[in-house]
């Protein structure tokens, strides 16, 4: 992977973003066909689990150090809960709000929470105090989300 240039890497990252956008719509449709949105969440996580096993082998990941992790803080284990909430929220909400509006609101929430986490150095991350450009950037994002909502309230 180290052989790819920055431009290719940026392009691949943009494609990953496009994948995330498409996934919400696809999963919403899958839930509709299967009869309940939670079935789409289930399929997403079950197949994702099966997909990661060969990747672990491909990457030659060493056996996990469970003893160290079990002594760690409780919140390191919350990724699954948050993941389920996020995938379900995306597939239920995106068809109602539109994908762009959903993702905009999601990004705004994500960056507001990141600013707080960084500023106080929460969940094991180094402290990164608020800077004018970080605050201004977040304001721009929230403004962008609000602007996309204009045509919905004529």
């Amino acid at each position: 992977m180290s052989a790819i240039g920055p431009a290719v890497a940026l392009g691949m990252a943009a494609i990953a973003g496009a994948c995330l956008a498409t996934q919400a719509g696809i999963n919403a449709q899958l839930g509709r066909y299967l009869g309940h949105p939670l079935w789409a969440t289930f399929v997403s996580f079950a197949i994702g689990t099966l997909f990661i096993v060969p990747l672990l082998m491909l990457w030659r990941a060493p056996a996990p150090g469970l003893t160290a992790a079990l002594d760690g803080p409780w919140w390191i284990w919350t990724g699954g809960v948050i993941g389920v909430f996020f995938v379900t929220a995306a597939l239920v909400l995106a068809p109602q709000t539109g994908i762009a509006a959903f993702l905009g609101a999601m990004i705004a929430g994500q960056l507001l929470a990141s600013l707080i986490i960084d500023h106080y150095g929460l969940i094991g991350l180094p402290m990164r105090p608020l800077t004018p450009s970080r605050v201004l950037g977040t304001v721009l994002i929230v403004a962008g989300v609000l602007v996309t909502q204009f045509p919905r309230t004529p």
Binding site: A13, V43, A68, W77, G79
Partner: protein, 154 residues
């Protein structure tokens, strides 16, 4: 669920985004403790699968129409896991090449552009939401905000 007010949907989307911010931090710590970032992804998917099963049993979600879905649904309803897995792999392998900031900026740009296209044409079963000047401007503001936040990191 169709009667949810747009404001509530947007707030839930923002909350899901805040969850993602917490998750990326907690997964990073978990991956470090377990010895490899992929183990954190594995835990997230495996724990998520178990959790969603428990929720579905508790809610008595009816058994899905797998056979009918396989026969009647378009093929792309099943590929949500590919887009999701591509994202996991891309995040792990590209961030070291272009930095987390560059990855996030490219990701958000890809997300917003793809979502405007998906909404405009009503792809993957979505209701068409034509591209307006306000929606395009909102997406530009969001991308600009993300770029601005990354500046002090470099």
């Amino acid at each position: 669920m169709t009667s949810m007010p747009p404001i509530l949907a947007m707030l839930l989307a923002a909350l899901a985004g805040a969850g993602l911010a917490v998750q990326s931090g907690s997964n990073a710590v978990l991956g470090r403790m377990l010895g490899h970032p992929m183990w954190a992804s594995f835990w997230q998917f495996a724990a998520g699968t178990v959790l969603i099963m428990a929720v579905m049993v508790a809610l008595r979600v009816p058994y899905p129409a797998f056979a009918a879905t396989a026969a009647g649904a378009p093929w792309w309803v099943w590929i949500g896991f590919i887009t999701g897995s591509y994202f996991v792999v891309a995040a792990l392998s590209l961030a070291p090449v272009i930095g987390v900031g560059g990855f996030i900026a490219a990701l958000v740009a890809g997300q917003m552009i793809a979502s405007l296209i998906l909404d405009h044409y009503g792809l993957v079963g979505l209701m068409p939401r034509p591209l307006t000047l306000a929606r395009a401007a909102g997406a530009v503001l969001i991308i600009a905000g993300v770029l601005l936040i990354q500046i002090p990191r470099t």
